[in-house]
Subunit: 227 residues, 2 copies
Amino acid sequence: MNKKEITILLVDDEPDILEIVGYNLTAEGYNVLTAENGVEAVKIAKKKNPHLIILDVMMPEMDGIEACEQIRKLPDLQNTIITFLTARGEDYSQVAGFDAGADDYITKPIRPKVLVSKVKALLRRLKEDESSDNVVKIGNLVINRDEYKIIKDKKEIILPRKEFELLSLLASKPGKVFKREDILDKVWGNEVIVGGRTIDVHIRKLREKIGDDSFKTIKGVGYKFVV
Amino acid sequence: MNKKEITILLVDDEPDILEIVGYNLTAEGYNVLTAENGVEAVKIAKKKNPHLIILDVMMPEMDGIEACEQIRKLPDLQNTIITFLTARGEDYSQVAGFDAGADDYITKPIRPKVLVSKVKALLRRLKEDESSDNVVKIGNLVINRDEYKIIKDKKEIILPRKEFELLSLLASKPGKVFKREDILDKVWGNEVIVGGRTIDVHIRKLREKIGDDSFKTIKGVGYKFVV
DNA sequence: TATGGTGATAACATTTACTTAACCTCATCA
DNA sequence: TGATGAGGTTAAGTAAATGTTATCACCATA
């Protein structure tokens, strides 16, 4: 996801804060929307579907907590990250904030650098969320997509990229037969043309490293991973 | 399976975590049970048979690892998904966790959104197991096109491609007579020309493997599959 | 520039599926 | 009754698909 495509909704009743924070986030390349109260915030959130919402707790009309609750009810905004702006030490509002469905909070007074790095961290989390189950366990195998490693019987195995992708694909649905063409599509990409024996050779390496029994050949069709 | 019917057992010795995580899961519509230590967890798991168990590793009385092992021993809880709560980077506990029979782990500090999406992903896995998409059952036969296998009286039979396709075709409409030319069209493709005895030979092999009675010859016409 | 890992390929071996041919059985009907 | 046609059976040959190994080009890295 490109920064340009990331939309942040900034909600505060003080124009100064909107301007300073907004300036800093815009300078970072984010697409920034602003609202001056909860009612407006909910309206904009509904329409623009931002990735991140920064909500001041104390606001006229509708406070941040209530706005947050309303926003959380909207089905399209389930994956939006919401963070509060709260005065330091106001512990109660933090709890209430989490209760309302917030993911984090930022304490006032706001220091632009801190805020920007927090925003970056939160958006990084969004990415992590998108690829949520990066660790898969099948039988005595643990496949960790994040760290690109395999654990078999407590022992770590490092696989080259193609082998890892191939194993990863086959193990994503144990038992299911993947046709050769499907494997080529998913591991090699459908533009790439490789020779006829390429898949076999990679399967062979996996059989060597992971175990012969785990990979079954279905002649004329493809391969499957079995537990 | 409706969300309301899904039960999650949450085990942690810190009431704060039980509350925050419990709140988030309840808000998602899950039925949440809690326990404060391993002993209690095992007791509740045995009684309530939850679909998913979230276990803190570090707990007084009985730690998560041991609780997991005990739970895994219970026959009713074989299909339960167990996931650990573990401090980030505690690599050892992850390995030990998988060893004890866990399916996944969630790192602390807990971020509600991450946890919820992970829970959803895990439960999606549960659903997939239950739904049989590309599977057809006829009599004591189960034909699984995804895995390219046949199950007859609980025993797995692997068939070569042509035999599989032939059986698959005949069994798609039990009782219906398929003309020889139709079979050739569908299994062999209408450009391929094969000798007169080819179909018979394949039928013979199926009769050998699946059972003589299942395939009836209609002289001058073709074959049909009967239950 | 040397090194080592990766990934593709070619050449060959092996395995398996599929087809065929030859022969057999059985029912039907002139 | 024996000629005919349809399908059944078997083993063997062939073709197709996959397994195996060695080798090479490429790339990053020391």
